[in-house]
């Protein structure tokens, strides 16, 4: 056990502290102006403060890059975690900016404060190697997200979504905790590396098998993988658009990163194999099955959806399946692929939810039919949506295509000899072809079907428009020049200074 001075610890935790401070400032500021100012002004103030807090945290991370591992892995800072934290903060900033024009609640300060708490949860989650702290930050994140999902008190859908999310989430947290406690029992340690050291044994201990299944269940819930996906469609549909965007973006990225870290670190030695005709027990085949089921079910069910939010939810399940391929292959390269894929996907989804929320407010619904003729009513918005949908479907030169290529190539490269995991890649490519069908359905409504009644131009708030264009451009840029991102991943953060 090393001793660390609390000032040094505070210094290490400064980004998180900044975010928390911003949350408190938001609460206080909103309290001060809530009596006098109209909701609009309160939203703008709170959003600006939150954005400043997140950007401040990003600046802090970039300005003083650190390497540390305190209290035996309880809190780890490395270039890798800093990178993920920056990505999470940027995603939160985008969600916050897109919420500026909303008006669904009168508890503005609380809304943004909880958003920032959730972000803190994500940041802590990705920077720990201790199962206790992992669980705690996961709960901080989850509890904040339950509240965010329920935030639209005027909508019964929102309440239903939150309740469902909470019940499923609580249950999966219990499973996860059970799995983690089994791990502790097996290894007598809460540190991932020490756990791996203690349980290294080729014949799979039955208790370990139970722990694996429990942990895959608990984290599979977080990333909405089949068969733990039931909450996703309802939450995506019922929650306020910006909460849904956060749940679907930042929380997903954090979930995938910790899923990956936990599996490859704690269960090193208990991998097993998911090679074709050569399954051996371990955690890899479990994840492989979950991934395959997610890809198939998510894509096939998405075809029948008429609500764009539910469509995005099922497509998110499918994307969780693709992303889990990185766990199945678990090479160094697949972690890079996972980060690239999860982050660009999250970016795209925030954009898509931004468009959906504008359409909802201006047209009055988010069914496919509400998108009819959008191209003549809001051309810029339509082009953004075009880019988001095609990127989700994996059409080059957008980020979604390169992400898929990178992910699949790294999955195939993983086997010892010739492509062992070909079956998963073939399934993934086939299913992403299916996915283009329903993304095209959205685009068909936007560009081809004529609007049903009055076709006045839609008023798109200027801030949202700018943010959406920025997201669309960055997706195009990341797709055309993926190297920008990859270099960033490979080099220390100092590269930018």
């Amino acid at each position: 056990m090393s001793t660390v001075s609390y000032t040094a610890l505070l210094h290490l935790l400064l980004p998180e502290v900044i975010v928390i401070a911003a949350a408190l400032v938001v609460l206080a500021a909103d309290l001060l102006i809530s009596r006098t100012a109209p909701t609009r002004v309160r939203f703008i103030t709170a959003a600006i403060i939150s954005a400043i807090g997140c950007i401040g945290a990003v600046t802090e991370i970039v300005r003083s890059p650190q390497q540390a591992n305190v209290f035996n892995g309880t809190f780890v800072v490395s270039s890798e975690t800093s990178l993920v934290q920056i990505a999470l903060l940027i995603l939160t900033v985008l969600v916050v900016i897109l919420s500026i024009e909303s008006s669904f609640t009168s508890h503005v300060g609380e809304y943004f404060a909880v958003t920032l708490f959730a972000t803190t949860g994500m940041m802590l989650l990705v920077s720990s190697e201790n199962i206790l702290l992992i669980f705690l930050s996961l709960e901080l994140l989850s509890l904040s997200l339950y509240v965010l999902a329920a935030f639209n008190k005027r909508s019964s859908h929102s309440a239903e979504a939150a309740l469902k999310y909470f019940l499923f989430g609580g249950m999966s947290a219990a499973f996860l905790l059970f799995g983690l406690s089994l791990l502790y029992g097996l290894s007598n340690s809460t540190n991932l590396l020490q756990i791996a050291h203690a349980i290294k044994s080729p014949p799979l201990d039955p208790l370990l098998a139970v722990a694996i299944v429990m942990i895959v269940l608990g984290l599979g819930f977080k990333v909405a993988a089949v068969p733990f996906h039931f909450w996703a469609p309802d939450v995506y549909e019922g929650a306020p658009a910006n909460s849904a965007a956060l749940i679907a973006s930042g929380a997903k990225v954090a979930g995938f990163v910790i899923f990956y870290q936990l599996m490859i670190t704690a269960f090193a030695g208990a991998e097993g194999s998911a090679d074709w005709k050569n399954f051996t027990p371990g955690w890899v085949p479990v994840v492989a099955i979950v991934a395959a089921l997610s890809m198939v079910l998510g894509n096939l069910v998405a075809i029948t959806q008429t609500s764009v939010r539910r469509l995005l939810a099922y497509s998110a399940i499918a994307h969780a399946g693709y992303t889990l391929l990185a766990l199945v292959s678990h090479t160094e390269q697949s972690f890079v692929a996972l980060l690239y894929y999860a982050i660009t996907y999250a970016l795209t989804l925030i954009g898509a939810f931004g468009v959906v929320s504008i359409v909802e407010e201006q047209v009055g619904g988010e069914k496919l039919s509400d998108f009819a003729g959008l191209s003549s009513r809001a051309p810029v918005l339509s082009i953004c949506m075009l880019i988001f949908m095609l990127s989700l479907g994996g059409i080059p030169p957008l980020a979604g295509f390169f992400g898929k290529f990178f992910l699949f190539a790294s999955t195939l490269s993983a086997g010892q000899h010739s492509p062992d995991l070909l079956w998963l890649v073939v399934l993934a490519i086939a299913m992403s072809t299916v996915s283009l069908y329903y993304y095209m359905q959205v685009l068909k409504r936007i560009y081809i079907v004529k609007p049903s009644s009055e076709a006045d131009p839609i008023h798109v708030p200027i801030v949202s428009q700018l943010a959406l264009c920025a997201i669309a451009l960055s997706i195009l840029l990341l797709g055309c020049a993926p190297n920008l991102f990859l270099v960033w991943l490979h080099q220390p953060i100092l590269f930018w200074l």
Binding site: I383, I395, A409, S413, P419, V425, I429, A430, S432, Y447
Partner: protein
């Protein structure tokens, strides 16, 4: 320099998306972009070139994965780039009358053209695939927004077929990339890599069919007639003229070059077939005969041309499967020839006739005495029809003759089938020509005189006819490029053991 064909097209598409550009200027911008692209190609042609692979631009793109931004052209790409330039200009000229959402139309049109140029000029397989996919999406919108008959169905069908094809290609590309060590996607390097035989045996057919779907390989051709018929004129010209060539080009340039041993005998015989080569040449001949037979009984004028495309593309695939220099040369020439002629036929049917008479039903057309009402259209169609059935002097003759000679030494029986296909093609061309233009059935019912054939249409038609005649009379122009390209080291793998 040649790389600018790609950039000009995409820049044109971008310019058309700017809100300030007036809709009236759209066709002008599109024409300008198309002519510039063509001019660049011609300048590349005039330069003394020997047809072997010449690098245009070679940059590192994603170094950690070994992906390069590598553009290069050899004789085969040059021929197809030239074809693209010609058809692109003609397509703009024949869509001079587009009024509805014209900016979007030409933006998508140019995006499609840019993708096509990109495929023909890529020497890195990742880049090639990127351009290949870029070319798919605009097709959907072009057909679904500006099309006719069952346009949404046809557009979706076309896109799904294309995407299934490209998924098959992608699977093989990634697998090949990984097996070759995940270091490079460079076509020239990968073509030197000796892939394991058992891998080639499944990779080759998967990729060949993947590309073949776009080339109208029977029985995966069904997207083609419905897509061509539903598409607006310029889009059908591009689809039949250029996009189907993407598929055939991919078969030759990627599938056959990477996996030459996929064509080896299986070692056993099923239904008289002993290798993928036998199977695909059989499918090609079935395509030739089947396409021609179906064209013979169509009532819809555009379906006649649509099925004739399937039949003519069958010749390209048969030429590829001969694996002889003369057969492959013929296949490339046929790509060019069919590109020009199919574009011309669709222009006559879609623009000159349908836009004026608003019907494509051959019986209805036979009462209109179109040879008198639209003499220019009649003459153009006659020229296009006799050129496509293989009249000496036009490009179709040189191409099909070489394919048949090549096929004769490889599989004589199939030549009989192909010959029957040619005979039927004379019949359907004759039938369509007679019914649409030269029938004297029924009384003269020209209540409203049809609009005269406009100047852009005349120019476009003249351009395409001249292109076909030039190649027909002086095939050496293209052969000088194609033959050295086929002799280059890129085709070494195919040449060893297979070349006859």
């Amino acid at each position: 320099m040649l790389a600018w064909t790609i950039y000009i097209s995409f820049l044109g598409a971008l310019a058309l998306m700017l809100p300030k550009v007036p809709a009236r200027a759209a066709r002008g911008i599109a024409l300008l972009a198309a002519i510039t692209g063509f001019a660049i190609t011609v300048s590349a042609f005039l330069r003394p070139a020997n047809g072997v692979m010449t690098t245009i631009l070679h940059r590192s793109w994603v170094p950690s994965l070994g992906i390069e931004y590598y553009l290069a052209a050899d004789g085969i790409s040059l021929v197809l780039v030239l074809l693209t330039g010609i058809v692109a200009i003609a397509g703009v000229l024949f869509s001079w009358n587009i009024e509805q959402r014209s900016k979007e139309f030409f933006a998508l049109y140019l995006a499609l053209i840019g993708g096509v140029y990109g495929v023909f000029l890529s020497a890195d397989l990742f880049l090639l695939f990127v351009f290949y996919e870029i070319a798919i999406i605009p097709k959907y919108f072009l057909i679904a927004i500006w099309g006719s008959t069952q346009r949404e169905y046809a557009a979706m069908k076309l896109v799904l077929y294309s995407l299934v094809g490209s998924a098959m290609v992608l699977i093989v590309l990634i697998a090949a990339y990984v097996i070759a060590g995940a270091k490079t996607m460079n076509l020239l390097t990968l073509s030197q890599f000796r892939f394991p035989l058992h891998f080639q045996m499944w990779a080759f057919p998967l990729m060949f069919v993947g590309f073949g779907i776009l080339a109208g390989l029977w029985p995966f051709h069904t997207w083609a007639p419905t897509g061509h018929v539903a598409a607006p004129t310029a889009a059908s010209m591009l689809l039949a003229g250029v996009v189907m060539k993407l598929g055939a080009y991919g078969c030759l340039r990627v599938a056959m070059v990477l996996f030459p041993h996929g064509l080896d005998p299986w070692g056993f015989t099923v239904l008289g077939l002993a290798s993928w080569r036998d199977l695909f040449s059989l499918l090609a001949v079935i395509g030739i005969v089947y396409g021609a037979l179906v064209a013979l009984v169509q009532q819809d004028f555009k379906f006649v041309v649509g099925y004739s495309s399937v039949s003519h593309m069958g010749f390209v695939l048969l030429g590829l499967m001969t694996l002889s220099r003369i057969g492959l040369t013929g296949a490339v020439l046929q790509m060019f020839s069919h590109g020009v002629l199919a574009a011309l036929l669709f222009a006559v049917v879609g623009r000159m006739v349908y836009d004026r008479t608003h019907t494509r039903d051959l019986t209805a057309l036979s009462r209109m005495h179109l040879s008198k009402a639209l003499p220019f259209a009649a003459v153009t169609f006659v020229l296009a029809a006799i050129a496509s059935i293989g009249m000496p002097g036009f490009s179709g003759f040189v191409a099909e003759l070489q394919i048949l000679i090549g096929a004769w030494s490889a599989f004589p029986i199939y030549v009989v089938g192909a010959g029957i296909g040619i005979v039927i093609s004379v019949a359907y061309a004759w039938r369509a020509m007679q019914k649409a233009f030269f029938s004297d059935a029924g009384p003269e019912s020209t209540t409203t005189p049809l609009a005269r054939i406009s100047m852009p249409e005349r120019l476009g038609a003249a351009m395409l006819i001249i292109a076909s005649l030039t190649v027909g009379l002086y095939p050496q122009l293209l052969l000088n490029l194609v033959i050295p390209a086929l002799n280059s080291p890129l085709f070494d793998g195919l040449r060893k053991g297979h070349w006859q």
